[in-house]
């Protein structure tokens, strides 16, 4: 059993489990699935700074902070108790391309040569870790949701504004990965 769990889970197991989060959250607490709101609640609870956007009763939304704390704990459990003993399988074209940017370590789920404390103090690492994160936080709030709130919850309830948002997420990602990131990775 543990052996099966330790292997990487295929999409047709993971996707439906993620989809089931939608009814589970609705039924156990009448909550709409969404994760990026947690960032807003963190702002509202820690640094509201008299900004109207952060002036609301965040304590009523505290379930969302419990949910993301759970995601963190789940990450710990999966990594330290259920981890895949084998190396991750990555598309050979991607490996080849990344090698031309000096990325040679393909152990683990993240390339440590890009996402590590040493990398943070390089131009390339700073852009990827800090600017990238800023865009994620700014963009999701501006769009009113992320992959969970729009792509999954919004599309599940057939809301066309969420379809627009999802298409824009994909366009942004395509442009970045194919046209801009190659220049950043060369730095």
């Amino acid at each position: 059993m543990l052996e099966i769990i330790s292997k990487p889970w295929p999409w047709y197991v993971a996707g439906p489990l993620i989809g089931l989060t939608v009814p589970v959250l609705l039924i156990i607490g009448n909550k709409s699935f969404g994760i990026s709101s947690s960032l807003r609640h963190i702002c509202a609870s820690c640094i509201p700074s008299n900004i109207p956007f952060f002036n609301y009763e965040w304590k009523k939304e505290i379930w969302n902070l419990f949910f993301v704390l759970g995601i963190f704990i789940g990450g710990v459990i999966a990594t330290f108790f259920l981890s895949n003993p084998n190396e991750m399988v990555i598309a050979p074209e991607l490996v080849k391309e990344l090698q031309t940017y000096g990325i040679t370590n393909f152990e683990g789920l993240m390339p440590y040569q890009l996402f590590s404390w040493e990398s943070l103090f390089t131009v390339r690492g700073f852009i990827m870790i800090v600017i990238g994160g800023f865009l994620v936080g700014f963009g999701t709030r501006y769009a009113g949701g992320c992959t969970s709130g729009h792509a999954i919850m919004g599309l599940s309830t057939l809301q066309w504004p969420s379809l627009v948002a999802t298409i824009c997420f994909m366009i942004g990602g395509f442009v970045m990965v194919n046209f801009i990131l190659p220049f950043i990775l060369k730095l």
């Binding site: 769990i5 889970w9 999409w11 996707g15 489990l17 993620i18 989809g19 089931l20 989060t21 939608v22 609705l26 039924i27 156990i28 909550k31 990026s36 807003r40 702002c43 640094i47 956007f53 419990f66 949910f67 993301v68 704390l69 759970g70 995601i71 789940g74 990450g75 895949n84 991607l94 683990g108 789920l109 993240m110 996402f115 590590s116 800090v130 994160g133 865009l135 994620v136 936080g137 963009g139 709030r141 769009a143 009113g144 949701g145 992959t147 729009h150 792509a151 919004g154 599940s156 504004p161 969420s162 824009c168 366009i171 942004g172 990602g173 970045m176 990965v177 194919n178 990131l181 950043i184």
Partner: protein, 143 residues
């Protein structure tokens, strides 16, 4: 509610989050490599994950509506309506750019930190800063 009650009332959300975090790691959704493969059309994995998640979500919502299923406390289930504004375009594109760089949406950030890549704490702080800056300049941005 006192602190103890808040904790017990929200424990169920913590548990759902834990399962969710495990799925994120085990299906390699938090992997930067998988997101690169998705946007370079080198792998079907992420499309399968998102597509089947939407499919199951859609069917579940239809069932809830059709049979008028209530919450465990017997409340009517509320679906909030998303109202269109230009933010979904501008914000959506900006988030997409960030997603392509970091390989993470907000959810996976928390799981990445849990998986031991502690520097992603900085990415999370930057995302919180981004959210704050949006809140600060919200009225000046086109919506």
């Amino acid at each position: 509610m006192n602190n103890k009650n808040i904790f017990t009332a929200n424990l169920k959300f913590l548990l759902v989050g834990i399962i969710f975090g495990i799925v994120f790691v085990k299906a390699e959704i938090i992997s930067w490599f998988r997101i690169q493969e998705m946007f370079k059309l080198q792998s079907f994995h992420m499309y399968g994950v998102i597509g089947s998640a939407v499919f199951v979500g859609l069917i579940s919502v239809l069932i809830i509506k059709k049979f008028n299923i209530k919450t465990l406390n017997g409340e009517e289930i509320i679906f909030s309506k998303k109202v269109f504004n230009k933010g979904q375009v501008f914000g959506g594109l900006l988030f997409g750019l960030g997603w392509g760089i970091t390989g993470a949406c907000p959810g996976p950030l928390f799981a990445q930190i849990g998986s031991g890549v502690t520097v992603i704490l900085v990415t999370l702080l930057a995302a919180i800063a981004g959210t704050w800056v949006y809140g600060k300049f919200k009225d000046k941005l086109p919506h």
